[in-house]
Every structure is written in structure tokens, then in C-alpha cells.
Point group: C2
Amino acid sequence: MKYQAPVDDMMFLIEEWLGIERLTGLPGFEDLDSDALRFMLEEAGRFCASELLPINATGDAVGAVLDSGEVRTPPGFREAYRKFVEGGWTSIDSDPEYGGQGLPRLLQFMVDEMLAACNLAFKLYTELSHGAGHLVAASASEDLRRRYLPNMIAGRWTGTMCLTEPHCGTDLGLLNTRATPQPDGSYRINGTKIFITSGDHDLTENIVHLVLARVDGAPAGSHGISTFLVPRNHVREDGSVGERNSVKTGSLEHKMGIRGSATAMLHFEDATGYLVGEENRGLVAMFTMMNIERITVGIQGLGIAEIACQNALDYACERLQSRAPEPRPDPSKRADPLVYHPEIRRMLLRMRSQIEGGRALAIYTALHTDLMHRAPSPEERKGAADTVALLTPIVKSYLSDLAVTSSLSAQQVFGGHGYIREWGMEQLVRDSRITPIYEGTNEVQALDLVTRKLSLDGGRLVDAEFSRWARFLEAARKDRELEGIIGPAAAAFERLADATGCMRQRVLEDDAAARGAATEFQRLFALTTVAILWAQVVAAISGKQGEIYERKRKLARFYMSHVLPETIALHKVITEGAEDLAEFDAASLTGQVRA
Amino acid sequence: MKYQAPVDDMMFLIEEWLGIERLTGLPGFEDLDSDALRFMLEEAGRFCASELLPINATGDAVGAVLDSGEVRTPPGFREAYRKFVEGGWTSIDSDPEYGGQGLPRLLQFMVDEMLAACNLAFKLYTELSHGAGHLVAASASEDLRRRYLPNMIAGRWTGTMCLTEPHCGTDLGLLNTRATPQPDGSYRINGTKIFITSGDHDLTENIVHLVLARVDGAPAGSHGISTFLVPRNHVREDGSVGERNSVKTGSLEHKMGIRGSATAMLHFEDATGYLVGEENRGLVAMFTMMNIERITVGIQGLGIAEIACQNALDYACERLQSRAPEPRPDPSKRADPLVYHPEIRRMLLRMRSQIEGGRALAIYTALHTDLMHRAPSPEERKGAADTVALLTPIVKSYLSDLAVTSSLSAQQVFGGHGYIREWGMEQLVRDSRITPIYEGTNEVQALDLVTRKLSLDGGRLVDAEFSRWARFLEAARKDRELEGIIGPAAAAFERLADATGCMRQRVLEDDAAARGAATEFQRLFALTTVAILWAQVVAAISGKQGEIYERKRKLARFYMSHVLPETIALHKVITEGAEDLAEFDAASLTGQVRA
């Protein structure tokens, strides 16, 4: 497996489309410029390709192992983690007051893409730690922050998110873990948590668990949940790491992929925990962090799609098999490279056009996570927060689905060789497959989009985004260079607008019909968003001549003619399919669906 | 994992739609009736669920192992194989003259579905053996038949197909294995074959390899290839098994799935082989067998889709999570079964409607494999052979893709639990993933459809099938019970007919454009075929009242409104997308596709 970090494409999108000044003009980022940003991205790309990619296949083959109560990470992970920490990669966008570098969240997301491409299992040891740090920074008391945050930001300790229990994943309102207040202000935590990413490992001397639990006497449901900080090892007054807290690792999961990542079942047995934020308000703070995490999962998907596509292309250029149509590269040979076969080229271009459009979506959303905190005016900050809220389920679902379809497609390019371990393609399929599932399945994202985001603030989020799109399309309509691009994008937008009206109506009148079409609606929304962003990218380079600009225009047209037509089918299913779905109520299904 | 063989649905399709007399009216099948057929299917279902399903997960976990030159199958496989042989499951449709039971090929295919559902890795030890037996029966000399066939049919020995070499899979014309004639009429075989299913194992005392090789001095390319029978162990004059032939097992592949199946690299080093059929005509006989094998691979996919769907439904009925829309099954509970959530129900119904439509496709095609050999008139036999030829790429590609999408979808219903080993869903994804790859990738199937089948005999195959469909649709148009079914099916058929005209033109004028849209065309063809067959099934039960009939009608309508709209998008991509694909010639792609 090879990997070349897509730094050029990232910088292209920032410089030629979004404008670097939208980032460097923000308070706190004054010292940043294009050269510095490119330098950091190239460093990150080098680190990922040279340190993380080489240990990805062995990490999968050996896996994380629980041995006599201790978790062992795969060969090379400890050494790579040490270099990761030394390189400062744990603290990119964290608060300088606690040792962070205070760089843009956008940079973090772009590095996230590279990390996920080269070694998702490794990345997970650092990813939720990073999220946990942000949660502590945002919600914990000054005392907890002082004691834990610098070590988390510096990567000396890692963090976890302990949400899921055996009987509840999506529906956290059902959770049973209990917290009993103690006279010293701490709590005793009792309960079992499952699927805890990096729940235990040998990379650092301590682990900081953020645990959702119910204080004794708290209301049932999601309004009785609080967040607690529960260190694996106690932390002494002087900040040093003390004896073990009562958190036991019950087992590690045997997973389809990301096998180098330790996914633990944790038993909290009278463990000592500290309240983070207010009692019974635990879900609010947790979900602020989770929403950012959902964007990260989408970006993980983008990274895997990218490395899958790169390697499929390499293989397609090298593997000679059968005769391609004229013209052929070397008529003296008895077979041509796969890339000369149009049916293979189509597969590569489907991936490529969705990946580069998907990167526009990712970077656009990522920029707005900085804008929502740092834009000068409250209106701009609110507008940016709205864009992030609306696009979070789109980024998460579209890019994670793209990871799976692209790695399947890349595997298909390899034929039988894609099915065996040595080429790495089958690992990408297995690793990518978690992304549509974790941090809220893509079906949960669709419900968030349809039942919450569509109607939030009276529908303001959608209306604002749609108005911007409409203005852009109107302005771009006359650009001759955008022929084959604006037309299809505008047609898809009409379908989306119509479907949005239909879904809003259903949310009010027929909840079952709304939910039954939510996943298709989310996909229609995503394909159309990517089309609009592709059109904006190409509009931004209008008039520019040169290979890279031509290539982008051709790829945008390919997306419009080969990917976007799916929106026609989706629109039809959404607007006309409700009745046939309603024919099957659940009761009839349970008895009858089986043949 | 549970499994209930879909005997009722199989019998429904045969009795209520196709008509059992189409089978029992054929010469040789006079003794067969509905009761006997159902009895055998139920026996097969019981065997698969009770003997093969329980060893499927362990087979995956342990895998087939090469140890000091000997291949060991996973725990339980030897015992299950013994019972499989004792039950007579190796000889269903084989020639009674050599010990076969002479039962319909259709029955074999239905049993194939059950075997693949419960344990694809196990099935593969028997499947290619069955194909090899048919090839020996059809092409080998009387002497070879007498010596090898009874043992193969009885399952005492198994067979393999040795085609692929390291540098050639799809493109067999490139193969290098050599055959040198010996004075005694035998040949010395030298070469290396890879990806040989059941290439070595411990289930039987001998293995019969059918090997493609090039006789010294034979022409280059596909016209210089011959087929040889190369036993792992020599067979003595008295028929007993002698010492080892010079066939060495180099290694076993580490595969994504079907890990219980031994996929071997075999070195033939001056091995003794016997010519099967004529010199330089090896590919013809091999492809007769391979074409049937392609149908079987599709049916494997159907089996995996079925068991994935069954288990997802079971889980959805049991797992309580979040509140569903009204009405709820038990308002006192704090959460409802997943199946009450419309977004989950939609996933189950998408699977279900495609699986039952797919089974109609499978059984329709399977029946024609019997008709093409046994129908009374030459015209009927030729017509049936045409149908089989045309539908082979459709069955292979549609049902293997369905296996992957259905197992992914079933896994998604399980959420995080679908990603870990213990529920079995992730194994189904890994096992199913081979089906779109082996026996000709689905892209190769698409090329077969577009560049061969469309124009075979001046297009007679397609024209004949389309005429039948048109007559059926015209006749059914007035049936009020078929509302919501005939309309969409007829519209899809119009799109297919139009796209067929377009593709025929391209085959003549622009090969690259034809090939570049071949995969989409194949999918359009498949979705439309299934729609027509669904409509025929429902037309056959017109007027009948009762739960099972109502259910079939509702499921057919669901297919039309939720699955079939994809054909609109496909038609557009096929007919309008060629120009944008042509923008990317291979040369530009190699340098530029990477960002």
C-alpha cells in the first residue's frame, strides 16, 4: 500500500475556492499563512505515510490483545505513539492556556483525514482523547481542568467516551450506570460500559474516562444523565499518577476491522468519579463534543476512500489483463493495463469525483467549525454554527458511506487479489465498515436531519443554506464554462427543495412516513450539496487555464453526469413511496416478512 | 444465527407461478411430484441448518490450515462432509449411469441456495467438484469417465478447476502452464496455478484437478488451451488410489472471508495428466461448465442475502431501542422493537423485496437449465438455452451484488453489534464479498452481456425475451389487481429497450462507450428483469385471496416504488454519460487522477 497525502487538493480548495484569508483573518490565526499551512500538512502527510501506514497491516493481523488483565497494543504502536506525541500532533487546535497550539480546527480535520487513511486503528487511540480533552476544557471545573487537561493535550494521558451499555447504544435514555454522591464531593460510579474505544491500552500511564451515568434519584430518561470524569489511575495532589481506580477491563471485542484498536468492556465497581458540568445536564455537553466527533467520522471515511482510490489506480496502471479498446499504449504487448479498460476507468472516476467533491464538503464544513467560534460578529458565528449543525449528518453519512463503497470498488479493481490479505484492500473494506455505524448510525443521522435539523428555529437553517445556493446558481447560470455543471446541479436542487417541502409536511402530519424516507432524503441532500459545492469550486476557477483547472472541470462534469442522476430516483422514492411502505405495519412484518 | 430454509417460497414459485408440470412433464422426471420435491427441499434445509450452520463460525475463526505440507479443514468439516456424502447430496442431478440420481438441475440450484446460506466455505468443497464432474461427464473419454466419474459423483473424491495463474485471471489467453505429450498418450504438466478452490484438503482420499494448459507448440492466446485431468494421487488399474502425483501445495491464501475453504496455490512439476476433450479446444468445454457455475455463484449470493435478512429481522423484533411512531406494541415499555421503526422496516423490506424477486429470477433461470436439455422439441431446447445464456450474467451479477448489499444492510440493523464477531453478520459481509469477484467479476459479466449476448445470433436472444415481456405486459395491463405493478415495470422496460438500442449502436460504432456503460446497463437489465418476473408472479396469482397472496402483491409494489426507480438514473447515465467519460482517456488518468 502506498499513500500520498492530498495536500495539493486541500490547498487548492482553500486557496482557490474558500480563500485562505477567511482563515487567517480570524482572531488568533494572524500568524498563519499558506506556506505555514502547507508545511504542516506536508509534515503530517510524511508522518502518516512513513510511521503509521507501515504498521497498519500488522496492527490488523495481530490486533489489540488482552493478556492477564493487561491490554497490549499491536507491534509498533507504542513507538509510533511516542513519535506522534513528540511531533505535537495531539495538541493542534487545543487551548494554548493548557499547552495547546491554538491552530485552526480545520487543520486538525485535514490531519484527521491523513491519519485515518494510513491507520484508522492507531488514530482512534488519539481521536476520542482529543474529543475528551475538548469536553473537559468546555465543561469541567477549573480544578479538574488544571489537573487533567495539560496531560491530555500533551498526549501523556489519553481519554475515552463511555456511553454505550449492553442494552442501549442509540437510546442513551435507557442507561443504567449509577453515580452515588460522596461526602467529599466525588461520586461512586457503578455500571458496565461496552464498545469503549481505547478503553484500555499500554500507550500511556493513565486513561481519563468520561462516563455517562445517572445520579441516585435522578429522573428517568435522557434528562437524568450526568457526565463524570473517572481516571483509570487516581491522580495525586502533586499531579502524579497513583494507584488504580476501580475500573476493570472485562474483555476486548473481536471486531470485523480496526482490529489494532482496543475496544473494551469496562466494569466500574465503586470507582471514584468527578462530576463534569451540571448534574442531569450530561447529554448536552456530551453531544456538543459528539457532533464534532461525527464530522471527524465522516472525514475518516474520506481518508479511507482516498487511499483506496490511490491504490486501485496504481494497480490499474500496472496490471496487464485483456485487450482494451483502441488506442492502446503498447500494441506489441498481448494485454493492456486495466486503466485502459473503460469499465475500470469509470469505477476510478466515480470514486475520484465523489472523493474530491466530498473533500470540498469536508473542508467547507471544517472551516465553519472555526468560523462559529472566531468569526468577528455574533451573526456570522451563529450562521456558521447553523451550517455546521445542518451539514453534520450530511458529512457523517455521505463520507462514511463513500468509504465503504469506494473501498469495495477499489477491491473490485484488484479482482481476486483484492480478496486476499496481502494487497490491503480487504482490510480497508473491513476498517471502513465501522464508519457508517459508530457515533450514531447513518440512520440516526438521517433522523437527526429530518426530525430535528429541518425544523430547527422554524426551518431557518435549511432556508438560509438554500437561499445561498439559489443565489449562487442564479449568478453562475450564464457562465459558459460551467455548461454541463450548473444545469444538473440546479435540477438536483429543485428536486431537493421539493422533497424538503414534502418531508416538512410529513414531520408535522405523518411521522412514520417522514422517518421511513429519512435515509433516502439524507442521501438526496448529500448528493445535491456535493453538486452545489463542486459547482462553486469550478465557478471559483472560472476563466483559469491549465491542466489542474481543466481536470477539475472535467471531474465536476463527470460527477454531474455519472453520480448525480441518482437524485432523480431518490426524489421519486421519497415523494411517491410512502404508501407502499405504510402497507407493511410492524405487526404484519414480524409474522410475514419471512418467505 | 438461525436459518429457516425458504422451502415455502420455493414451492410457491414453482407451483403457483411456473407450474410443477413444466418440470415433471420432462422426460426422466416422470416420477417426480410436488410432494417429493418439497420433501427433498425440507430434508436439505434440515441438513444445512443442523449440520452446516453450527460449524460456519468456527470454520471462519479457525480457517483451513496448511501444516507440514498437509491441508487441514476446520473442526467439524470432515464429519459434516461424511454426512453430506451419506445423504446423497453430491449426486442430485448427475447421470444415473455413473451413480447419479438424475434429478432436476433446478433441485440442485435450490439446494445450492441453502448450502451457501448456512456455510459457503463448506459448500465450496462440494461445488466445484460437482462442476468438475459435469465437465468430465461431458468431455472426457469413456476410459477417464469410467475411472473417475463414479467416485466424483459419489463424493469419494472431489474435483477442482485450475484456471488462474499469478499473471492472469480474467484473461486466460495469457496462461503459461505447459503440457508435454508422452509416448503413452499422457502428458507432463508443468506450471503454477493460484486461487484453486479446494485445491487440497483432508476430506477425501483423492482430488481430481482439471487443469488448463498449453500443449507444446500450441498457438498463443485462447485458441491454444487444452484441458487436462490431473489426479492428486494416481489411480491404479483396479481403480484404487495409488501414490502421489507430482502436484504440490505451495500455500493457502489468507482471505477476507470463506476462510474455512482451502484456496491453494498448486505447483504442477512434471505431473501426469490426461487430455479431456480435444487439444486446443479446452476453453470451450470449460466455459460450458463455467457458465453453469456462474449461475451457481449468483445463487450463493441469494442464499447469503436470505440468511442475512432473516437474522436482521429476528434481531429487529427483539432489540428494544428508542420510541417508534404510534402505534406502539407495548406503551408501558420505555423503548420499542427496532422493527417498529420505519427506517429499519424500510431496510428490511428493500432486502426482502429484492430477495424474493431475486429468487424468482434464480428459479426461472434454473428451470431453463433443465428445459435446455430435456424439453421435447429442438426449438424449445434452443429457446431455453438462449434464455439461460442471456440471463447468466444477470443472475450472477445481480444476486452477488445483492448478497453484499443485503449483508451490509443486515449488519447495519445490528448497529455496533453487527461489527463484532459474535452475531455473525460481519462474517456474512466477508463471505459474500467473494461472489461479485469470482467466476468472472461482475464487470466481466457486464462485458459478456454487452459485447457478446446483445449481438449473439443477430440479437435474437434479446429480441425473443423482449417480445415475450412485451406480450405479457400488454396482456396484464388491464388487471386492476396489478395496479402499481405493471405501470412501473412497463416504464422500466421502455427505458431498458431504449438503452439496449443505444448500447447496440455503440457496440458497432464506439466500443469504448459501450464498455464504459456496460456495468450500469447490466444493472438496468437486472432490475428490469426482476420487475417483469415479479409482475409475472403476481399476475399468476391474480384473483387469489389470502395472506400469502396479499403479502406477495404488497412486496411486489414495494419493489416497484422503492427499488425500481434506480432504473431512471441508470438510463440517464447510460444514454447521456459517454461524453464525460470519454473526456478522460487512460493516459491522462494515469498522470492526473490523483489530487
